[in-house]
Amino acid sequence: MIKLNRDVKNYVILLSLLFFNNCNFDVQKDHPKLYVIEIKQMQFQPALLKVHAGDTIEWVNHDFVTHDVTEETNKDWSSSPLAAGTSWRMVINKNTDYYCSIHQVMKGKLVIDR
């Protein structure tokens, strides 16, 4: 039986910790998350959200008036009208400014955290 001295054992333990730490980080990147933005009191809450590319955002309308969620700069996408109590999801891959095209002063921002 090979006897490992204490220094070698410590070195192996240290290498293992570094290895598994990297593995956990990669696992987090590979599993997209779901974030919820509440539409409440005529605001997107939170108005600024940092996410990773590939994450899903769900907007939930808690107001009693109808809202929508529309990409602001080029109008690339829109949820179409969301009645009270309804929700809509989208996968996000880039920084996005959006707004409610019905109440055009209501604005939100998604930032991709690299």
């Binding site: 005529m42 605001q43 009693f64 008036v65 019905i102 109440h103």
Partner: protein
């Protein structure tokens, strides 16, 4: 701001704060049924103005804003109606809501006499003035005077929508300076 917009806004504020002596109200304080009537009337007035805007305007910003006013203020009326049914309260017509309706009718005649850009400017100027007056009345009179907790909460719940409408109207108003 046009004189008639200021006059309308002032009359909303005056009659909500003071009632009217000609109807010999014992107190200027509004009861909950009266508050419910004022709230419904205030929303209906803006719906009626918005319907006129949709008929007369060809400006897309004005038309879209008017559609939002119709939908949002109807949603508020629906909430108010549901609440008074639940509380078994009948909205009580009163001097304040009657004067608001009378003044709104005068404003409507003025708006009907206008067309094109003049109408667009007059409509949005009135929307800014009207929402400022209603926000002031709800915040400083109706909410403090409401006795029933659910009615008070409903009035508080509509404040963000009123403020957003005002901000939206002011944004459009800049296009017609």
């Amino acid at each position: 701001m046009k004189a008639y917009c200021k006059l309308f806004a002032c009359s909303v504020l005056y009659f909500v704060f003071n009632g009217t002596n000609s109807y010999a109200q014992q107190s200027s304080k509004l009861s909950d049924p009266e508050i419910a009537s004022v709230a419904v009337t205030a929303n209906q007035i803006d719906i009626d103005a918005a319907k006129l805007a949709k008929e007369k305007s060809k400006d897309q910003d004005i038309i879209k804003f008017a559609e939002t006013m119709i939908n949002d203020h109807q949603a508020v009326i629906n909430q108010a109606v549901a609440l008074v049914k639940k509380l078994n309260v009948t909205p009580k017509d009163n001097a304040t809501s009657q004067k608001m309706s009378a003044d709104a009718a005068n404003t409507k005649k003025i708006l009907q006499s206008k067309s094109g850009k003049d109408f667009n400017k007059a409509y949005i100027d009135n929307e800014v003035a009207y929402h400022k007056a209603v926000i002031d009345a709800v915040q400083n009179v109706l909410i403090p005077q409401a006795q029933n907790a659910e009615l008070k909460q409903l009035l508080q719940d509509i404040m963000p929508a009123l403020k957003t409408h005002l901000e939206h109207a002011e944004m459009i108003q800049k296009n017609f300076q």
